[in-house]
């Protein structure tokens, strides 16, 4: 990779919280800007067309226009990084995928629904090849920095696959279950340094499911700890509807 990679930052369907989190790198931002040239970032600068080495992309794909744009971005980017739960696994947006798309469209747009073509919310990887994932909702800052430094050095970042439980145990956090709450840590990918359980919150599963999750066993854990089967699956669907709908079919 060239000495100073050109970076472009894009967003699709999402809250732009991940991009805000990139602007929030107050202590690192100047160092980061020393390594790269940002050539395109709507959140922080005027649009400018160009070529780029690394594209950081936030949001899920939920309209036909999104599909066109992501293909264009893929063509122009050497490395494409999906940033945040929406881009990586469809995120909260993909909860709509559990219902007929026409019904969702009508509920949101009413009689004007024909003006707004819409698709099930898809992770970027459903449409284009994604090279690297930065997970989380909003994206995990420590992971973004690791990915950023790896890419600047021309190396392939390592994607964590172990559950959040590992990071809780490394930090000796009192288990959320011991405190009488339920937690998706056992089947959720770590890499966040167990951010939420470390401050007394339970894991909502924002970083997506571990590879080959044992969902029946997770359902049993949640039900044993007091949820109904229906509630258990609702919890699991919050960030993972796209993957879970895929497993059904």
């Amino acid at each position: 990779m060239a000495a100073k990679p050109r970076v472009a930052i894009f967003d699709f369907t999402g809250c732009e919280g991940c991009e805000l989190n990139q602007l929030n790198f107050e202590n690192q931002l100047l160092d980061m800007l020393g390594h790269v040239d940002i050539v395109e970032w709507r959140e922080a600068m005027d649009d400018r067309p160009g070529e780029y080495d690394i594209a950081f992309v936030e949001g899920s794909l939920s309209t036909p226009d999104c599909i066109k744009r992501i293909n264009e971005i893929r063509r122009r980017a050497k490395v494409l990084v999906a940033v945040g739960a929406c881009a990586v696994q469809g995120g909260i947006n993909s909860m709509k995928n559990t219902r007929p798309i026409e019904e969702v469209r009508e509920e949101v747009y009413g009689k004007d629904k024909y003006l707004f073509p819409t698709l099930p919310a898809l992770p970027l990887s459903s449409v284009v090849k994604v090279d690297v994932n930065v997970r989380g909702c909003p994206m995990t800052q420590i992971e973004f920095l690791k990915v950023f430094t790896a890419l600047v050095m021309g190396k392939q970042p390592v994607e964590p696959t172990s559950a959040v439980c590992v990071e809780c145990k490394l930090k000796e956090n009192e288990c959320v279950y011991e405190r009488g709450m339920i937690c998706l840590g056992p089947v959720t990918r770590g890499g966040c340094d167990a951010q939420c359980p470390s401050v007394g919150q339970y894991c909502t599963g924002c970083r997506g499911l571990v590879p080959e999750p044992n969902l029946k066993a997770m359902e049993d854990i949640l039900v044993t700890h007091g949820l109904s089967v229906n509630e258990a699956w609702k919890r699991l669907h919050l960030y993972n509807s796209h993957e879970l709908e895929g497993l059904k079919s």
Binding site: Q28, D31, M32, G34, H35, L145, K146, F148, T149, A150, V152, M153, V158, P160, T161, S162, A163, C165, V166, K169, L170, K171, E172, E174, C175, Y177, E178, R179, G185, P186, V187, V210, P211, E212, P213, N214, K216, A217, M218, D220, I221, T224, H225
Partner: protein, 340 residues
């Protein structure tokens, strides 16, 4: 044997006495439901009556994240981290956790000695305490009673109103010197009643576990398991690790760290080229249990499980290592010839 008596209301004074000589690490209340070992700053915070800490004393000798070296990319140099002896009093340690350190001492001194671990092990004074087994402890089944004093310098056994204090070694006598304690009344501390038992001693288990390689118990356990790895990460005799390098944001240097890893984790079994050599949770569960009751025991004669019950207590899926082993035992007794 010279036994002294430490009244409960003098525990704080004893902690202060120890703190005047060395740093003291002891169990202290962490959350509302948990106790953890930590450096003592307030003697009143020490809790001697507890069932278990999530992490054992292992964390002081093989830290969860251990910086091995710092490297500088600008001149391609590196410097190994300075490792200091712990040189402290470890107070309020249960016998199974002391026994676990004996096992790690073996692991880390075989072959190429593990310098960092052995360095940190130096200068430790061990002050043990007895405990009342809860629904998860089964140390009795692996030959480590709650009153076992082996490896300790001083041992406190709970009796009515306080503790019987036994000075086990000379070092123990030295650390207690100057702290006046009355003679203990005659009377025996409770030997502890276990609620969990493994049916056979280790001498028989090697054979049983060898015969259980193709047992359906592994697949049945895997059905309940989510593979979160908690059982590995809380185990006092697990010592596997991964090595990670982190580069700072200036991209001028960074650190190489050793981080606890575990055989229940998919990444752990993945090798170069992407091959996963224990692909399913059944294979991983089998490996975990055989590491405790067969592979290392074949070599040393001792089970590598100390019966602390952590893997079961912290398993959200309720998987019990005692049930797995006993299932292997009862299957073996019914069909002893199914050895593979």
């Amino acid at each position: 044997m010279d036994l002294k008596f430490l009244a409960s209301d003098r525990v704080e004074a004893l902690v202060s006495h120890l703190m005047h000589q060395k740093a003291v690490y002891a169990p202290q209340r962490m959350g509302r439901h948990s106790v953890a070992l930590d450096k003592v700053t307030n003697p009143a915070a020490v809790v001697l009556d507890y069932s278990r800490t999530m992490q054992s004393v292992k964390k002081y000798f093989q830290p969860p994240r251990d910086e091995l070296l710092k490297f500088d990319l600008t001149d391609q140099s590196f410097a190994a981290a300075t490792v200091e002896p712990l040189d402290a009093v470890l107070l309020g340690i249960h016998s199974y956790d002391r026994a676990a350190i004996d096992r790690l001492d073996y692991n880390f001194s075989q072959g190429q000695p593990e310098k960092n671990y052995l360095k940190r092990r130096e200068g430790v004074i061990w002050v043990g305490v007895s405990y009342e087994p809860d629904e998860f402890h089964f140390s009795g089944s692996v030959g480590i009673g709650p009153l076992e004093t082996e490896g300790f310098d001083v041992f406190l056994s709970r009796v009515g109103g306080g503790y019987q204090v036994e000075t086990v070694t000379e070092k123990g006598g030295e650390i207690l010197a100057g702290f006046d304690l009355p003679q203990a009344e005659q009377g025996k501390p409770s030997p502890g009643h276990f609620h969990q038992h493994i049916f056979l001693p280790q001498a028989r288990l090697n054979e049983v576990m060898a015969a259980s390689y193709s047992s359906p118990v592994w697949e049945e356990t895997a059905q309940k398991c989510v593979g979160c790895g908690s059982c590995n990460i809380v185990c006092p005799t697990c010592y596997c690790f991964n090595v990670e390098e982190n580069v700072d944001i200036k991209v001028t240097g960074g650190t190489r760290e050793r981080i606890w890893d575990g055989c229940m984790l998919r990444e752990f079994t993945e090798v170069a080229g992407g091959e996963v050599f224990r692909g399913g949770l059944a294979e991983r569960q089998r490996h975990r249990v055989l590491r405790k009751f067969k592979y290392l025991s074949d070599r040393t004669g001792h089970p590598w499980c100390v019966g602390c019950g952590r893997c079961t207590a912290y398993c959200t899926a309720g998987i019990s290592i005692v049930s797995i082993v006993n299932r292997c035992v009862s299957d073996f007794e019914k069909h002893p010839t199914t050895a593979v």
